[in-house]
Amino acid sequence: MESELRERTAALLAAHDPADTDRLAFLQARFDAGLAWVHFPEGLGGLGAPRSLQAVVDAELAAAGAPGNDPRRIGIGLGMAAPTILKYGTDAQKRRFLRPLWTGEEVWCQLFSEPGAGSDLAALGTRAVLDGDTWVVDGQKVWTSSAHTARWAILIARTDPDVPKHQGITYFVCDMTDPGVDVRPLRQITGEAEFNEVFLTGVRIPDAHRLGAVGEGWQVAQTTLNNERVAIGGQAAPREAGMVGVVAETWRARPELRTHDLHQRLLKGWVEAEVARLTGERLRQQLTVGQPGPEGAAMKLAFARLAQELSGLEVELLGEEGLSYDDWTMRRPDHVDFTGREAGYRYLRAKGNSIEGGTSEILRNIIAERVLGLPGEPRTDKNVPWKELPR
């Protein structure tokens, strides 16, 4: 299989020399050659190959100077929408959506969280009502990154308020150019606005853009969310990558700032960071040999704690300089850049690490119940119709 992939990659490069091929054209050709995500089925950008072989293709293409599809810009499409469409989409949906999603022609965003439904996502109240063969959607979503650049959204909405909350949800693909979609920037404590609030007023979605059955949106969303958690936790990294490296560099460069208090805390942070890195590496090795472990949730927890501790330490280490901030101007960054800004920004932005994509509290619940098998708490919301829940 690996040699076949190498041959196909060579053939792609021969037919579309990156040096004189348009970027988009090259990406489309790569998709059509099944080299976009090799574990996807043939005809949908893949070849049904083992996922681990993607690295072979990527390395060859990178060596040849081929353009990439900028995963940072289209991460939600790649990481969340695509696996969900692949699993639950009709053939028509897969053919329509996956190719421009992968090439980046169409950016995706995720309309899940609501002001009243974050950790308890299933409590969501955005309503979708069927009108002929079109759903009419009204409600408010929040914490939507890329909403202002997205062509499509994956959306979950309540289609039956008379059944318990997990049962009355349906999953849709929402056209972000619909006139009923109103995107407003949501400013954060860092001063910038990475995210948006999205107000949905009479938004019309054809039933053909439904993913999965009516009322089964919660199960469909699990695919999306599981892929989100893997994406956050699964990256390999060299020693001193990330926040610890930033602080260590300042420590080495600025002997006049050193104190024993900070030294001891830095060493503890360094140990924690390196242990987390090795844990991630072990997770990666387990995945390679097909033993996926539950360490993904742990990695996100550890990452959040470390980023917060170390960025807080950095501000203290800087002392007088830590009293300054680089810029409060409201900006609209298209990704989080912890190293491109100063210590104060890192400190504030890292506070979000334990909230976004599953709070640390929810992750601890998940570890306790799914990994350690501890019993759940008494539930009072399981068999109650959504409309009767307290909120």
């Binding site: 974050g118 954060q188 404590i189 009293l323 506070k351 509290e361 539930r379």
Partner: protein, 373 residues
């Protein structure tokens, strides 16, 4: 122990007055709206607090034009100011500058002006300066008797009418009063982490100054100001922590998840119980610092270092928990939690970090560090 760790009735009345004033004139919405504008301080609020309510002169003796109360009362005001992250130059003017002036030359007419709230001052040292630091050498007095040099990250400087400037004079340490309007003086606000108490860089080029104290008197005045500032800052930090705890508790009682109030989840409850416990400790430590400073007790340096070591870290932790337990809403600019987080983090550096104060304690209570590194 003879320290009084409680609040007297007079202190509770003072607290009620300050709190009522702040409730009317210092809403978080107003603070938030102001903090990015051209005038981060609220002069109207400052006048009401300092002059009308008399908070600027509490610890100034009556003979010097003040109320003749003590630093205990000033600490109570700081608790309330912390609780509302009020954008007023109280720490810089009433605590740091006034204390330095009282120690250097209490009879100076500036004392009464500050005590009445008629004028506002700042002590021109970096806000990060810890008690016990060497006398600053950034400003020098030239042959003509004018001042030249630069001091970075001065708190409340941009709201000050007059700066008290430590300088290296012909006979060594000296403390000068410099008018903010003086030619050659520059006060350039920094973009500050703390939106409600910005710091500014002060530059002096041939600026005339009025000598307030020289030699050991100047050094003692500066040390007294730094020690008092650090000790009373603990009361501000207590106020920050109390606001964060109370606001978080109130939110969690109301906010429902999984058909239960969030505050009914045990993991949350235990964290808040621990935070409450540390806040109760902060109240005792901050009161002890204020009381020993007010009485001139010999244990004041220990009390100040202790209060800073505890309260400096606590305020940050309380603000961090406040953000975390509010979930997404706590990460938004429109919610006031970040104002407290930024103040708490800046306060952690102000007048010595908790680590610096623990290092002071090591000396003060004979717990020496290892000899070799």
């Amino acid at each position: 122990m003879t320290a009084d760790l409680l609040y007297s009735e007079v202190e509770e009345e003072l607290r009620a007055s300050v709190r009522a004033l702040l409730a009317d004139h210092c809403t978080t919405a107003a603070v938030l709206a102001r903090c990015e504008g051209p005038a981060p301080y609220d002069p109207a609020l400052w006048r009401k607090l300092a002059a009308d309510l008399g908070a600027a002169g509490l610890h100034v003796p009556e003979a010097a034009g003040g109320a003749g109360a003590s630093l205990r009362e000033t600490a109570v005001v700081l608790e309330e100011l912390g609780r509302s992250v009020a954008p007023v130059p109280f720490l810089g003017s009433v605590v740091l500058a006034t204390t330095a002036l009282l120690a250097a030359c209490p009879a100076d007419p500036l004392t009464a002006a500050l005590a009445e709230g008629a004028r506002t001052a700042a002590l021109a040292v970096p806000l990060s300066t810890a008690p016990g630091s060497a006398f600053p050498a950034g400003v020098r007095v030239d042959g003509a008797g004018t001042l030249g040099g630069r001091i970075t990250a001065v708190a409340d400087a941009s709201a000050a009418d007059v700066l008290l400037v430590p300088a290296a004079g012909p006979q060594g340490a000296a403390l000068y009063a410099v008018e903010a309007s003086a030619a050659g003086l520059g006060v350039v606000p920094r973009t500050s982490l703390d939106l409600t108490r910005p710091v500014a860089d002060v530059t002096l080029a041939g600026v005339p100054g009025r000598l307030l104290a020289a030699g050991p008197d100047a050094e003692a005045a500066l040390q007294r100001a730094l020690l008092t500032g650090a000790g009373l800052l603990a009361s501000e930090q207590l106020g920050i922590a109390e606001w964060c705890l109370a606001t978080t508790v109130a939110y969690l009682k109301e906010r429902t998840q999984f058909a239960r109030p969030l505050g009914s989840f045990q993991a949350i409850k235990h964290r808040l119980a621990d935070l409450w416990l540390e806040t109760v400790g902060a109240r005792a430590a901050a009161r002890y610092a204020a009381d020993t400073l007010a009485r001139g007790d010999a244990d004041a340096p220990v009390a100040v270092a202790l209060a800073q070591a505890h309260c400096g870290a606590l305020a940050v932790r309380a603000a961090e928990e406040c953000v975390q337990l509010h979930g997404g809403i706590g990460m938004t600019w429109e919610h006031p939690a970040h104002l407290y987080l930024k103040r708490a983090k800046a306060d952690q550096i102000a007048l010595g970090t908790p680590g610096a104060h623990r290092a002071s304690l090591a000396r003060l209570v004979d717990l020496p560090a290892p000899v070799s590194g």
